[in-house]
């Protein structure tokens, strides 16, 4: 992924600021949002940067519902667009996420998770929005959910989020936590050409042949920007290949099935994980976000103490990376899933487990991090 080395610009950035670097490197030119702790630095940073970006546009909307509306509108007009929020705002955005999934509108939504339900712990970390990210919007719809464990990954995973959004015409949710978002680390700033950047395919056929929701080989129809001569209808109603509302069972079924298939067929591309000493591991920790950093140290210390421990870091949470998790569960005697919630991703691990091994969870919901020693105690 990295270009040949030369003197690179370095910076001491927050995770939230790194998200902005990633977004701009991926070609983001539109941001709409509403301030909320602990995500606000993303918005402030965008407000500073976008006026200087070619074609950049920024708008502070009246609430999170409106922010998502503006992002959807900008994306339909051809922009790479994003918003960022935290728990309460994320709840408000759910209907619009469903609309984006149904209309196959690419966008990136960063949710910096804080602690607790409702207003909860605005300045403390949490990971309580994992299941909501997958199932928050009503009705069956595919979705891509990513996460990051440190500041450099905030750049990389934001780029990945935009690439997946554009490639698969899908809303992509990047789940961060307050620790990752508010940790300041030295990073090398991305230079043009560092990342492979993907933009949505636009139609090449004459407008009168274009069908906006046509069944294609990849399952992802090309998408022209509004105003480019391809006039078509976009609706959240179940629609036919031309985009017009339909309630014919055959058309409704094939629409939903294609929307799932376009993600399912590309699991290999979408599912990003990192293996740390898992090849011979008899104890495996499965973690994501800031908790993965504690797990990294715990696994290292367990190895030093003679335990064959390994770590699987999930950077893609949904579609759930079963093909990485399942072989691991088959071959270990214990799997440990530490999370800053009452047990959300562990549900997926247990679902995949099917009696292969013992799955133990470590759950913390008091606004504090899970420490390496807390994990070490369970695995050593």
């Amino acid at each position: 992924m990295t270009a040949p080395r030369k003197k690179r610009r370095e910076a001491f950035l927050l995770g939230n600021e790194a998200v902005v670097e990633g977004a701009l490197a991926a070609g983001c030119t539109f941001y709409a949002g509403y301030p909320i702790t602990p995500s606000t630095e993303i918005m402030e940073c965008m407000a500073k940067r976008l006026p200087h970006v070619p074609d950049g546009a920024f708008i502070q909307m009246e609430d999170e519902i409106a922010s998502m509306g503006a992002v959807i509108g900008a994306s339909l007009a051809g922009r790479k667009a994003m918003t960022a929020t935290s728990g309460p705002g994320f709840s408000l955005m759910q209907e619009q996420i469903g609309y984006a999934a149904m209309t196959e509108t690419p966008l990136v939504l960063v949710n910096v998770m804080r602690g607790g339900a409702s207003t909860g712990l605005p300045t403390s970390p949490g990971q309580g929005d994992v299941q909501q990210a997958r199932w928050g919007a009503h009705g069956d719809h595919p979705i891509i959910v990513l996460s990051a464990t440190d500041v450099p990954e905030c750049v990389e995973m934001t780029v990945a989020a935009f690439n997946f959004a554009e490639k698969y015409r899908s809303p992509v949710i990047l789940l961060l936590d307050e620790i990752t978002a508010h940790t300041r680390e030295k990073i090398e700033l991305p230079e043009p050409g560092d990342f492979e950047v993907f933009s949505r395919l636009t139609p090449t056929m004459p407008p009168e042949w274009y069908k906006p929701y046509e069944e294609t080989m990849r399952g992802v129809p090309p998408m022209p920007p509004i105003g480019s001569g391809y006039r078509f209808h976009v609706t959240g109603l179940s629609h036919d290949p031309l985009g017009f509302p339909t309630s014919r069972p055959e058309e409704v079924r094939s629409l939903t099935e294609r929307q799932f298939r376009k993600i399912d067929r590309f699991f290999e591309d979408i599912q990003i994980v990192e293996h740390v000493d898992t090849a011979d591991a008899e104890v495996v920790v499965i973690a994501y976000g800031c908790v993965a950093r504690s797990a990294r140290l715990a696994v290292k210390q367990a190895r030093e103490a003679g335990v064959r421990a390994g770590l699987l870091v999930l950077k893609t949470l949904y579609p759930f990376p079963r093909r990485h998790v399942e072989p691991m569960l088959r071959n270990c005697r214990l799997a440990v899933v530490p999370e800053l919630n009452m047990g959300q991703l562990s549900r997926e691990v247990k679902r995949v487990n099917e009696g292969y091994t013992t799955v133990r969870t470590i759950n913390r919901i008091d606004g504090q991090i899970i420490t390496p020693s807390q994990i070490l105690k369970e695995i050593a």
Binding site: G69, G73, A74, A77, R79, A81, S228, H233, T235, G236
Partner: protein, 278 residues
């Protein structure tokens, strides 16, 4: 007649199934005609026009017209329209909404679109009722009127749309009816041409869900009611007794730049400053 046929061929979608979904006696089709005629009169290219609609009977208008059309979520048409206009200011963006859409669930978006004067035309089809869900009161149902959710008569007072949007700072505010079609065409064309946020309230009868429960014997009677109770704002202001009368016409004309223009000017100034320093 020949002219109407030509407009139908030019602006309506041939691959869309007609007749319209609207009930007999509904005024929405007339507003649809007005929309097409005003766009035609302004000489806008179909590729440059975007119709952003909300949810409800009015939302269905979008599917019939051969522009770029986006049927959004309930109440959020203006938010999507704002995103489109900021992303591509060259487009003519018209948000088509109902009274429930624009003033109840989307009320917050309406006042903020007016306050920031985003260059979008809001066309609100006000029929005083939630039609598609079967006749519940909305925030424009007159006090004392009946609906399925106020069977004893509406206790709440209705929004005065003109005053609300004027106070919020919109560049243009007007009201027309589907009885006064020529005037409605002109109001629409004027609103679409004026920079900033412009709202056109189109009064349109819903006989099925509103008229039948409120003493109207037919849809025609509702049109007659529009004819007898509405008069131009200039004449209205001279009236001594205004009971039962409703002014139509343009109420607000402000000379402002749309937000998208102010954003572009700011960027230009930034670039000039940068260029000057270098």
């Amino acid at each position: 007649m020949a002219e109407i046929t030509q407009l139908i061929h030019q602006y309506l979608r041939h691959n869309k199934k007609f007749p319209l979904v609207f009930c007999p006696g509904c005024g929405h089709g007339i507003v649809l005609g007005s929309l097409v005629r005003s766009v035609h009169a302004l000489g806008l290219a179909k590729d440059d026009v975007v119709i952003v609609a909300g949810i409800g009977c009015s939302g269905r208008i979008a599917a019939y017209v051969d522009f770029n059309t986006v049927h959004t979520t309930h109440g959020r048409a203006l938010t999507v329209a704002t995103g489109i206009k900021m992303a591509n200011p060259k487009l003519t963006v018209i948000a088509v909404m109902g009274d429930g859409d624009a003033f109840s669930i989307g009320g917050n978006h309406l006042i903020h679109a007016a306050r920031r004067n985003i260059g979008v035309t809001a066309l609100v089809l006000n029929n005083f009722i939630y039609g598609m869900t079967g006749g519940q009161c909305s925030s424009t149902t007159p006090e004392g009127a009946y609906s399925h959710t106020c069977p004893q008569g509406q206790l709440e007072s209705a929004f005065d749309i003109v005053e609300l949007t004027r106070a919020a700072g919109a560049a243009g505010v007007s009201r027309g009816t589907v009885y006064h079609v020529k005037e409605l065409d002109a109001l629409m064309a004027e609103a679409i041409s004026r920079p900033g946020f412009n709202l056109v309230e189109a009064l349109t009868p819903c006989f099925t869900q509103y008229g039948r429960g409120n003493g109207f014997k037919s849809a025609v009677e509702m049109f007659k009611w529009l004819k007898s109770s509405c008069l131009s704002v200039e004449r209205y202001e001279k009236l001594e007794d205004r009971t039962g009368k409703l002014p139509i016409g343009t109420f607000v004309r402000r000379d402002v730049d749309g937000l998208e223009t102010r954003w572009a000017n700011m960027r230009q100034a930034l670039a000039a400053k940068k260029g000057g320093a270098a």
